[in-house]
């Protein structure tokens, strides 16, 4: 069992990284540099994939020896570790990766052994599944909601708080009328913008504790 919790899918991919001694800068180093330059806000490629809760890409050179009594062990290769949580099924998500973030996927996975490119989506999906590990434990904060429905709910909550602040103290009749108008505005509000749009997110404070 694994990979699925409610309607959330937890994906773990380990793709072996190419080794080429003839290069001035090895693949893993180039990949590290590329990943470090990726935007982490609404311009992130994963923001384009609007069903993504969170995603993480790590270059793993080897396992770390933690000292006696552990024994020294080594990986057969360097790996690109890709972890992501998203709504829905795996094939749809991978197909979206291959089509909607094609350039990004090619830039990253071209450093990996056996990557077929994104030109043939079916080949890409097969490749990713071959690299997949079963994910037994992952973060699924809102199991039975999608990213979109959670964002919609948060927007409605923020709008309701604003409505309450503006209308508190009104008579019952006035309040009822205003609430009717509010509900109508909510009902006819435009749908959430596409993934990657800055206005899609609820304004969040910057949170960092390092």
């Amino acid at each position: 069992m694994g990979n699925v919790n409610g309607t959330t899918y937890g994906l773990t991919i380990l793709s072996p990284i190419l080794e080429d001694n003839r290069l001035d800068i090895c693949h893993s180093m180039e990949l590290r540099w590329y990943l470090s330059q990726l935007p982490r806000d609404h311009r992130s490629p994963f923001a384009q994939l609007s069903s993504t809760y969170l995603a993480r890409l790590v270059v793993m050179d080897d396992v770390v020896f933690v000292g006696h009594p552990a024994c020294q062990e080594h990986l057969k290769s360097r790996y690109l570790v890709f972890e992501t949580n998203f709504d829905g099924d795996l094939d749809t998500y991978l197909r979206r990766m291959a089509t909607e973030t094609k350039e990004f996927v090619d830039d990253v996975w071209r450093h990996c052994v056996g990557f077929p490119g994104t030109g043939d989506a079916r080949a890409f999906i097969a490749y990713m599944k071959k690299c997949q590990l079963s994910t037994t434990f992952f973060f699924a904060d809102v199991n039975d909601q999608t990213v979109d429905s959670t964002l919609e709910a948060l927007k409605a909550q923020a709008a309701l708080a604003h409505f309450m602040e503006k209308n508190q103290g009104k008579s019952a009749a006035e309040l009822q009328r205003a609430f009717g108008e509010f509900l109508e505005r909510l009902r006819t509000a435009p749908p959430l913008p596409r993934g990657g749009d800055e206005s899609r997110a609820i304004p969040q404070e910057k949170r960092r504790h390092d």
Partner: protein, 462 residues
């Protein structure tokens, strides 16, 4: 039973002196040999945590703490310097992003003395009378003169407010302050109900010593991160110093305006902001009116929990006091808050303006807030970031603390209510900054042994 050597611990770490006068001398230290000479002389006068004989209570007390720059200036060994926790080495200014000190609170807006990074030490004099304060500060200046070991960059005055001709425990917004401080094992006084941590029987007991003093086990049963050698850290602690300017005019006009709209009235609204009526009565114990008898009773004035008020209809979920000391509000019998406690010290500065009189918010007026804890990162910084500048733990989303939040005119405070017409739900929007940060830093408050080691240049990390 934890025993602590009170004669080795600075008095400031163990007790609030409750003296009405204070002056915080912010010092720049001279070259190391002269600075050490000054500290050596100071050793004789630094006040320890020893119990005072009832007949010989001192008229003034002296304590000292150092910034990381100060310890570097004293040239303690590099291995010791680098063993201090990262946040202390960085100092408060570098932590602005983490603390939410942006906009009006950002370091470029601070007082010059804090912008310039010149403060090496905080030499605090607390006194019972203005004359004694002058006398003791005069002695300190003479010592600096004689040894040429330090000079005063700025002297920050602080004084209890005078209201109706008498010293008052109130702060500028009119709230009685200074009720709660966490009890910890080994401290002199018995545990006061409501001030330590909750135990399994629903009662209160003292927190582990290592939450507030270095060199002792903390709530996790571990020694807090401390500098090497062990003796340099043991019996010392870390202090956060923040000069908090209070916009009394903005606060009063906001309260006046919203008080007219709130059916419970202005004073009840003021109580909802903080969780106490302005006389100090906790809302949890008396939601409908202030009760002076509760305020006067030390067994009752901090003795309450939030588990019977999880909806916040007595004390709002986002009330200042409930945010910064959530007690059992997050469940687990309070287990989630025991490692986030801070010891508060502080005193007001500036003249009190009586209600109804015009106030100029550009006058110097506020609180010198000082917090003591074993880990600035785990305790003060967490409280500041998660409970003051954010609301998720209190189920308040992005809303910030009403009083201290860096709202920038966009803040919101929600008061949960009941069908009772005197206790309706109410939302305060458009919150301005009632308090602005004017500077400060992180300090190390050493033990007497550590101070002697620094003064005699015998700190040996080997």
């Amino acid at each position: 039973m934890t025993e602590i050597d009170v004669s080795d611990i600075q008095g400031f770490a163990l007790k609030g002196y409750n003296f009405p006068y204070a002056r915080y001398l912010l010092l720049e230290l001279a070259e190391p040999a002269a600075a050490r000479k000054f500290l050596y002389q100071l050793l004789k006068v630094v006040t320890t945590g020893e119990r005072w004989d009832i007949n010989s209570k001192p008229m003034s007390v002296v304590n000292i703490a150092f910034t990381f720059r100060g310890l570097a200036q004293l040239e303690i060994p590099l291995a010791s310097q680098l063993s201090f926790p990262l946040e202390f080495q960085q100092g408060m200014k570098a932590r602005a992003d983490i603390l939410g000190d942006s906009g009006k609170n950002s370091p470029e807006k601070w007082d010059l003395v804090w912008r310039e990074d010149r403060v090496h030490a905080w030499l605090a004099v607390n006194a019972r009378t203005a004359d004694e304060l002058e006398k003791c500060c005069g002695d300190m200046l003479a010592l600096m003169d004689e040894t040429q070991g330090a000079r005063v960059v700025q002297a920050q005055e602080a004084c209890a407010l005078t209201i109706n001709g008498k010293f008052s425990p109130k702060e500028h917004f009119g709230y009685t302050d200074g009720f709660g401080n966490p009890d910890f094992k080994g401290a002199e006084r018995d545990c006061v109900p409501g001030q330590g941590k909750l135990n399994q029987d629903g009662g209160w007991e003292a927190l582990a010593t290592g939450e507030f003093l270095l060199g002792y086990a903390d709530e996790a049963g571990e020694l807090p991160v401390a500098p090497i050698p062990h003796l340099l850290g043991r019996n010392g602690t870390f202090m956060v110093y923040r000069k908090l300017h209070q916009n009394v005019g903005i606060f009063r006009s906001y309260l006046e305006e919203k008080g007219k709209q709130y059916a419970g009235g202005k004073e009840k609204l003021a109580a909802k902001f903080v969780g106490r009526w302005r006389d100090g009565t906790p809302l949890e114990l008396s939601p409908d009116q202030p009760q002076p008898a509760i305020v006067a009773d030390n067994d009752r004035n901090t003795n309450f929990k939030y588990s019977d008020d999880l909806a916040g209809t007595r004390c709002p979920l986002g009330a200042h006091m409930r945010r910064v000391h959530p007690r059992d509000a997050f469940g687990f019998n309070g287990g989630l808050v025991n490692r986030r406690r801070i010891m508060r010290r502080g005193l007001t500065y500036g003249e009190y303006v009586p209600e109804g009189q015009p106030v100029n918010d550009s006058d110097e007026r506020g609180i010198i807030f000082m917090a003591l804890n074993a880990s600035i990162f785990r305790q003060f910084e967490f409280v500041q970031q998660q409970w003051i500048e954010y609301g998720n733990d209190a189920h308040q989303g992005n809303d910030k603390d009403f009083l201290l939040g860096n709202h920038e005119g966009k803040g919101r405070f929600v008061i949960q209510g009941t069908p009772d017409p005197q206790n309706p739900p109410f939302i305060c929007g458009g919150l301005p900054n009632f308090v602005e940060l004017r500077g400060g830093d992180y300090f190390f408050l050493p033990s007497l042994t550590a101070l002697a080691m620094i003064a005699t240049n015998t700190v040996d990390p080997r």
